[in-house]
Symmetry: C2
Subunit: 243 residues, 2 copies
DNA sequence: CGGAATGTTGATATGCCTCAACTAAAGTGG
DNA sequence: CCACTTTAGTTGAGGCATATCAACATTCCG
């Protein structure tokens, strides 16, 4: 029976060549599993965790807590992602991580990870690269939320999630399950729920994609990409998935 | 005569303890110096550099190139920062880096850096930490540009730059030189030049800070911080500068 | 001194936020 | 299983803020 950490090695292979030994080391790491309820926090702002998580199943998100209690969602993380890898080297969390729908994560102690890096620097470099791709995703979010009109902004978010999910074989046909509410989409893209709603309708009307009841359906990928000005270089996949 | 790379070790010490040997290794690294004209690109989107830069003097910025030829500025980098550290592990640049005013950078080959990491993993971890702080800055930019009103948005940008400059002893009295135009401020914060202008006037009127002719003057730090909802945890300084 | 770049100001329009009312769906308890 | 409550989504009306445009002022450079 394969380790649940197989999702991680699969993810790392999307951008990095790993030797069999590297794979064995990662998949052999001791870890604990934790189930998360929808909305449950994995870590909160200000905490100093001694473990890092790998998403095994479901969707998690990073977010800033804003004064009024509102949130700014920063990024979304699916199977194989490490939503709190930064806590390895930065002790105090400057943001929180929560589960969007029901999720499961594997927890690995920082100690064990650092020991593995000492033994095999290439493993550290692979995860470093992973954190750099995270940074690229944040940069793109800056550009997305600062420059694109509502329709394109939503479209771009969907493009990114679909592309990443596809690369990790998490899509079925042309749909991907995203357990997120309209309010939360607004909190990710910096728009009001009313505008989110109307923009979703426009996307549906344009026959490029639809989002209903947590299901993203991509109907015309090329057109969606064009409309959203999506270009996936920033995700740094070795071989782009075919969509 | 101290190495120009001293600015880098000083920067790393802001968040990481380094041994004397670590310091000696970094400051002893072979490098070349390059002067940049105002606006000159250090690297362009799509390039695959074999060197990474350390800012020695002046201000540099990362930016996305947008379809119409416009830009989205993503972050600003002052003495000691490494604006393209990510190219160490991600070969194709997904954004560009340019000089804002006249600047000078030191270039170190990736090869030399990687060799140093092998020899002293702690050095790699220090620079990794640096890239993670970069990521935190991008996250904060997402929140800033997505949630804050114009005044606070500009104020927050100024708070961050001033705080970082202060931590690196780059401020004189309460002012810091930022060679940036109103257009560029707009391209960083996602607002039109007209709004930038009027918001700057509001800031001046509020007697919290002023920005004129490339000079940021902080007049009432506490009030500016309050108005901008700035809290510096995300910059992860070991000891905050006193302002 | 002349031209270009940068900054300033005003007028206008529109796109998005806010608010409110309503519908639909989902979860809860009798 | 149905009534009830709660949550999520939908729609419309209205007002404000910010983008856009245009004219002008100022500064910077050659």
């Amino acid at each position: 029976m394969p380790s649940p950490l197989r999702v991680l090695t699969r993810k790392l292979k999307e951008h990095t060549r790993l030797t069999n030994e590297d794979v064995a080391i990662i998949e052999g790491m001791s870890h604990s599993l934790r189930r998360l309820e929808p909305g449950e926090d994995l870590i909160r702002q200000g905490e100093r965790p001694a473990v890092s998580a790998v998403v095994i199943e479901g969707l998690t998100a990073r977010y800033h807590l804003l004064p009024a209690g509102a949130r700014q969602y920063l990024s979304f993380h699916m199977a194989g992602d490490m939503p709190d890898s930064q806590s390895l080297f930065i002790d105090t969390m400057d943001h929180a991580v929560c589960a969007m729908g029901p999720a499961q994560v594997a927890l690995i102690t920082h100690k064990a990870l650092l020991a593995a890096f000492e033994r095999r620097p290439a493993l550290g470099f692979a995860i470093w690269r992973e954190t750099l791709i995270d940074a690229a995703i944040f940069r793109e979010a800056v550009t997305n939320n600062s420059t694109r009109a509502p329709r394109a902004r939503l479209g771009h978010l969907f493009c990114e999630l679909f592309y990443r999910a596809r690369a990790s074989s998490l899509t079925t046909e042309n749909s991907y399950s995203i357990p997120i509410s309209l309010v939360q989409i607004g909190e990710a893209t910096g728009m009001s729920i009313a505008t989110v709603n109307r923009s979703l309708q426009q996307l549906r009307a344009s026959r490029t994609c639809s989002f209903e009841k947590g299901q993203l359906q991509v109907k015309d990928w090329e057109a969606l990409v064009r409309l959203s000005r999506f270009s996936p270089q920033y995700l740094h996949q070795r071989k782009p998935p075919d969509i």
